[in-house]
């Protein structure tokens, strides 16, 4: 995709999503919209490290948990505004990411080993959160005390403001990915062939760590949004395998390593899963996750580059057909 085109799409999408805000609709739809944007944002953050650089992390929920718990604990304990707590959580997530990413890249951990390390990190965070009962409420979780609308406290009655905030977050994340232009291509080069990239003078470790740190920071900010919106967290949901896999899911089904892949994935998956949950939730409680699993398997087998790759595939087919026609008509059949 041409770089400028991405920016234009981002602008158009933002305007469309912003105007949706003024449409009259039932409150439940607003909730689904917020969820969709939340996962689009989180997927975009996940994509920076896992899609572009090809290091598959299934433990990113650890960073969401760090962001969420830091924000909430600082607010409950010290009355610190969640806007500041969020930054603190993001920085803490960056530190933890450095702690794990540096040895991972230094020792060249790749493929399944890297994924296992990311899962282990998540389980460590989950167990520590459960263990530190006096601070985190243990497995019972922590809730955010209700306050009427107050911007400084990141609490609002009604859903509209949350929608605007997550829309802004999403636009910033997508813009950041676009802005990371050079880093992005470096990362892709690293993913495709690490030794060739390093021979070309790309600093492999520096770029990987940069991507990992930005990714962790953004996911932690997302975790903070999660706690302000849902007002409740516990170690199994916010630091669990389900959330981690969800980030991977929207990105991979949409198209990992592309700017809008995670957004496409979220726009398709989240309304679908909410619809399934609403229509069959009482009789078949796990149906939407079951469908997630099936979709993930199908995507990996039949469309490993995700939905975003469909136009490319169609184009390639068209060119091939045109070539065949040319050849049949006695033309040279040379690729354009």
């Amino acid at each position: 995709m041409k770089p400028k085109l991405s920016l234009i799409i981002l602008a158009i999408l933002s305007i469309v999503l912003l105007s949706v805000y003024f449409l009259p609709m039932p409150i439940y739809y607003k909730h689904v919209l917020i969820l969709t944007l939340f996962y689009a944002y989180m997927g975009t953050a996940w994509n920076i490290m896992c899609g572009y650089a090809g290091r598959l992390s299934l433990g990113h929920a650890a960073f969401a948990a760090v962001g969420a718990y830091t924000t909430l604990i600082l607010y409950r304990g010290l009355g610190l505004s969640p806007w500041l707590g969020m930054i603190a959580g993001g920085l803490l997530a960056v530190c933890i990411m450095m702690l794990i990413a540096y040895p991972c890249f230094r020792f060249g951990l790749k493929g399944p080993y890297f994924t296992l390390a990311s899962i282990a990190l998540m389980e460590i965070v989950q167990n520590l959160l459960t263990f530190m009962r006096s601070l985190t409420g243990g497995s019972l979780g922590l809730s955010l005390p209700y306050k009427p609308t107050n911007f400084a406290l990141f609490q609002f009655d009604g859903k509209e403001t949350y929608y605007l905030i997550i829309l802004l977050f999403w636009a910033i994340a997508v813009f950041a990915v676009w802005k990371m232009e050079r880093t992005r291509y470096y990362l892709e080069a690293i993913r495709e062939d690490e030794s060739a990239a390093s021979a070309l003078g790309i600093s492999v470790n520096k770029n990987l760590i940069k991507a990992a740190v930005i990714s962790a920071f953004l996911v932690a900010i997302g975790g903070a949004f999660y706690v302000q919106y849902f007002r409740y967290i516990d170690p199994y949901t916010i630091a669990g395998f389900g959330l981690s896999l969800n980030l991977a899911l929207v990105t991979i089904i949409g198209g990992s390593g592309t700017i809008f892949g995670p957004t496409i994935g979220a726009v398709i998956l989240i309304p679908l899963s909410e619809f399934l949950r609403l229509s069959a939730g009482t009789q078949l409680p796990g149906l939407h996750l079951f469908v997630y699993g099936v979709l993930l398997i199908m995507t990996i087998i039949y469309l490993p580059k995700g939905i975003a790759s469909i136009p490319g595939i169609m184009n390639a087919k068209k060119i091939r057909k045109a070539n065949i026609k040319n050849a049949a008509a006695g033309g040279s059949g040379v690729n354009e």
Binding site: P112, Y113, T130, F131, F290
Partner: protein, 293 residues
């Protein structure tokens, strides 16, 4: 800590370690031969536990007997899963990452199928061994775990014999060492992969059946065993057979000790930290040999 408590912890740790080893052998076999990580591993344990549970409650079949039923069923299940999900991903590039994702998806499917079919209740069975224990020289051993440990030894012995002293075993080892060279030697690699996956899943099935009398059964029980099994096989060496046994014993002892001295959560954190250190320093595991991947 008195001498008696110490010996008691050692004995319980060894029993637990043996069971953990049994739960990990299947994962290890599949990784060692096909070089893929099966993230749905724990969910196959869950399936087998449900199968054992229903065989017991409906037909009064003892869990140890039901291993004989679960084994062939799980070989077939494994072969079907391999043909449907794993085979299409082999040799297409990025196989390692794609199989991790596909099996993670499979895990979601299995967990939620179980949730839809059988609900989220915790289930347990009461056999004639429940609550019983044997006493050896002042040390109490849980009867359920004792027999599970014995089964583990038997299964490990049979598998070792199969791998080392039969022609099928040497074919499997050949494929595991170098699948291209094995193809050139006229070995049907695809057939070996299919068979290995089937047997690997069936070993998981035996493990699940054996632990049903001593653990609760519920749809997400596999998540717990998943982490555990990965820690054990990485610790012992992904793909190393004896490594799984040693890794199981080490983790069993660590968990029992830390569990007594501190708490269950810290025990897990401790195992996970060891796991990370091993990944960084010696990713081939303490018993594994060969180059870094």
């Amino acid at each position: 800590m008195s001498m008696e408590t110490f010996l008691q912890i050692i004995a319980s740790g060894i029993l637990l370690g043996g069971i953990y080893a049994l739960l990990s052998i299947g994962l290890n076999l599949i990784f060692g031969v096909i070089k893929i990580v099966n993230l749905a591993h724990g969910d196959f344990i869950m399936l087998s536990m449900y199968a054992t549970f229903f065989l017991f409650t409906t037909f009064k079949i003892n869990p140890y007997i039901s291993t004989l039923i679960v084994f062939p069923l799980f070989v077939i299940l494994g072969i079907i899963i391999f043909k449907l999900i794993i085979k299409p991903l082999l040799g297409k590039g990025e196989t390692e990452v794609n199989t991790i994702l596909a099996t993670a998806g499979l895990g979601f499917v299995l967990q939620n199928a179980a949730l839809m079919l059988w609900g989220s209740d915790f289930r347990a069975i009461e056999t004639n061994l429940t609550g019983k224990s044997y006493e050896f020289a002042g040390i109490m051993l849980s009867a359920g775990r004792f027999w599970a440990f014995i089964v583990c030894l038997v299964v490990a012995g049979v598998l070792y014999y199969l791998l080392m002293y039969t022609s099928l075993g040497s074919k499997i080892r050949a494929v595991s060492q170098d699948s291209d060279a094995a193809t050139l030697m006229g070995i049907n690699v695809n057939m070996i992969y299919t068979l290995t996956f089937g047997v690997g899943i069936a070993l998981v099935g035996i493990g699940g059946a054996i632990i049903t009398p001593t653990f609760y059964v519920f749809p997400t029980v596999g998540l717990y065993f998943n982490t555990l099994a990965f820690i054990i096989v990485v610790l012992g060496g992904l793909g190393s057979f004896t490594g799984a046994l040693v890794g199981g014993l080490i983790i069993g002892l660590i968990e029992t000790f830390t569990g007594v001295v501190a708490s269950a959560e810290l025990a897990q954190v401790f195992s996970l930290l060891i796991f990370l250190v091993i990944l960084f320093v010696k990713p081939e595991g303490i018993m594994g040999k060969g180059a870094r991947v």
